[in-house]
């Protein structure tokens, strides 16, 4: 048995030993040659790559008993593709596959191209989604058990050193059946995989990467949702916590941006779909016993300033203010939400509380003046 196979049983030590083989190929080859029947040096991992033809989002979600899996496994670019490279991981498959996809090759053609130039393809596991709906998944026969993959119409799940086939099947089912935006569906797939036993060796890191074309925000082509958990006892739960914060901080604003882009492009149906996503985020946030005041604040502010979902925005702001009653930013959001709702009196009352806390702020004075003028009319 190789030292790498040895490491697998010991779980937490696998990270560096896996890399032993990659780094010191000559040494590793000696071991492999001496014990051909031995296991490979896979790192246990499960991942999903997906394409959403409606939003044009491409995404990857991954969990591993390996440090900082987000550095090596997930790669994606809007309009190009999404790639997960794992098992005996060669991270260069990420940039290489994206470069090939950029030339117009499909997911399966890229998979064949990677296979053709690799000497240890039997030990690799790769999932690819291209930006035209093409899907490919590969699991080499020398990946450690349980290993395998399942592809659907617009996604592929794959994993190795798993508790069993139910892990991958559970991921696929969860992705198919979960409604809502891609990030939610990807995370639901990770949750389902973990619930089905996940990685045999346990958990250490996770990552979620979604990219999306945008006419006004070019950064979304590389980072639309891009969250990492590098080293954690329950990385998927932590990733969910981060996504919930992300939704409040950036999600609402992002959806409003896309709503405007779709309106400008003459697609009012898609625009209302984007706004509906914000309503979902709000509902989810309000249904949780949310303790993150700044997340609620961001969400309430985005809705208030877009004059949308004002009742829920007020609820979110009220809850934020009850968590942090002396936070001037939050009181200002609450005031703004009341004002937009048509309740200038409550707006003045909340903003006056803020002004008591920060008496020097000209902005708060201007806000109160603005609310008063409207009230007096």
């Amino acid at each position: 048995m190789t030292p790498e196979a040895n490491s697998e049983r010991l779980g937490f030590m696998a990270p560096h030993t896996l890399r032993r083989l990659a780094a010191f190929a000559p040494i590793a080859l000696i071991f492999l040659a001496a014990s051909p029947a031995s296991g490979s040096n896979d790192r246990g991992t499960f991942s999903i790559v997906a394409f959403d033809s409606v939003t044009q989002e491409l995404g990857v979600a991954v969990q591993s008993k390996y440090f900082s899996v987000g550095t090596d496994v997930p790669w994606a670019e809007a309009g190009v593709g999404a790639v997960a490279t794992q098992a005996r991981v060669d991270p260069s498959f990420g940039p290489k596959a994206l470069a090939l996809l950029r030339t117009g090759l499909s997911a399966s053609e890229v998979m064949r191209a990677l296979a053709a130039t690799d000497s240890v393809w039997d030990s690799r596991q790769v999932g690819i989604a291209d930006a035209r709906g093409g899907i490919a998944t590969w699991t080499g026969s020398k990946c450690l058990d349980w290993h395998g993959g399942e592809s659907g119409a617009d996604f592929a799940c794959q994993g190795n050193i798993l508790a069993g086939p139910a892990v991958v099947a559970g991921m696929a089912k969860a992705y198919r059946e979960t409604r809502g935006e891609m990030a939610e569906r990807l995370l639901a797939a990770l949750d389902a995989a973990q619930a089905a036993g996940g990685d045999k060796r346990g958990m250490q890191s996770a990552a979620l990467l979604v990219v999306r074309p945008s006419a006004t925000r070019p950064q979304f082509a590389q980072r639309y949702i891009d969250l990492r958990v590098e080293d954690h006892k329950t990385p998927i739960q932590e990733l969910r916590r981060l996504l919930e914060i992300q939704e409040g901080f950036h999600g609402a604003d992002n959806h409003f941006t896309y709503a405007e882009e779709y309106e400008a492009a003459g697609r009012p149906d898609m625009a209302s779909r984007e706004r509906e996503r914000v309503a979902e985020i709000l509902r989810r946030a309000l249904s949780r016993s949310e303790r993150d005041a700044s997340m609620l604040n961001g969400l309430a502010w985005a809705c208030a300033t877009h004059d949308l979902y004002l009742d829920d925005a007020v609820k979110a702001a009220e809850r934020a203010a009850s968590i942090e009653p002396r936070n001037v930013d939050i009181l200002d959001t609450l005031a703004e939400a009341y004002f937009r709702q048509g309740n200038a009196t409550k707006a003045i009352e909340a903003e006056s509380r803020a002004a008591t806390i920060d008496p020097k702020s000209q902005y708060l004075k201007d806000q109160i003046e603005r609310f008063r003028r409207a009230n007096g009319r």
Partner: protein, 351 residues
Amino acid sequence: MMLLLAAGALVWAASPARATFSIAAYDSVTQELGVAVQSRAFSVGTAVPWAEAGVGAIATQATTNVSFGPAGLELLRSGKSAPEVVRALIDADSGGAHRQLGIVDARGRSDNFTGKLCSDWAGGVRGPGYSIQGNILAGEAVVKGMEHAFLYTKGELAERLLAALVAGQAAGGDRRGMESAAIVVVRPSEQYPEYRTRYVDLRVEDSKDPINELIRVYRLLEGQRLAEAHLRFAELYEKAGKKDLAQMERGRVAESLGHALARKDADASTLNGLAWTCATNGVNLEQALQAAQRAVALEPKNTQILDTLAEVHYRSGNAAKAVEVETQALSYSPNDAYLKEQITRFKSGTK
């Protein structure tokens, strides 16, 4: 009037947490480019730092125009210098007065910009190969402290960037407190194209103590993938006939080992990783032995770590000790074929 106020409010309240300090820098010897950043904002690593090997490193912050990242890299790719790109981006942006931007290009030219409406204290310093900037800071001492730490810290770029963050925080840092941090370092490599966008790429998205958490995960990286990367570069430099640079790369592993040994709380995984890396490459064997022994002391029944210690003994010419340690490992895992093979190998004296 109301529209105007609403717009003002958006700037002020929708992005209240963009208080941030960052450094973008270049290492002319290794050609590394990197950015390190700390902020009161959630997940600062998604927005602020952008880097590509052979192109440049960008930090975009304050009321952040994130598109400065990809757009700036595109302009740098077209051959423009860091100062030209800073000017081009700011000139084309109606919100320029709220922005803060620092850029270093792949020739070490640097520039930064702080819009006059960035909240106090806001400003930056720069020099050849680096640009440091921050807003809503305790004062100018923050960026000055970062500069001093960057210039006087020895070692690899990531270490110097992290030292700058620590110094920034020590000088009062961000006056709204901390939430997230990130470090990205990129490095040209034909053999390992992934290093062009992710050589060091670590995030702390939401934490009470983000800089220390970033350093904690960096130490994990150092003991595992970075040590391996240095030996990869050492090999490439040897092949290219650059013995001094190969030596420097191996020296980096020795530095990592030194750092790990100097830390009382170094974890078993890092110590073990470094010891194994050094042993199997036949470098820094004395320190590797110390590291392996410390790892064993932390986890005395971990057969993986015992195997590393045995390997270090063996590579150091002490086959008897190697057999003894590996036999002990075997006693914890009697059916382990690999451990048996190792013992046979140590006894026969083959590599």
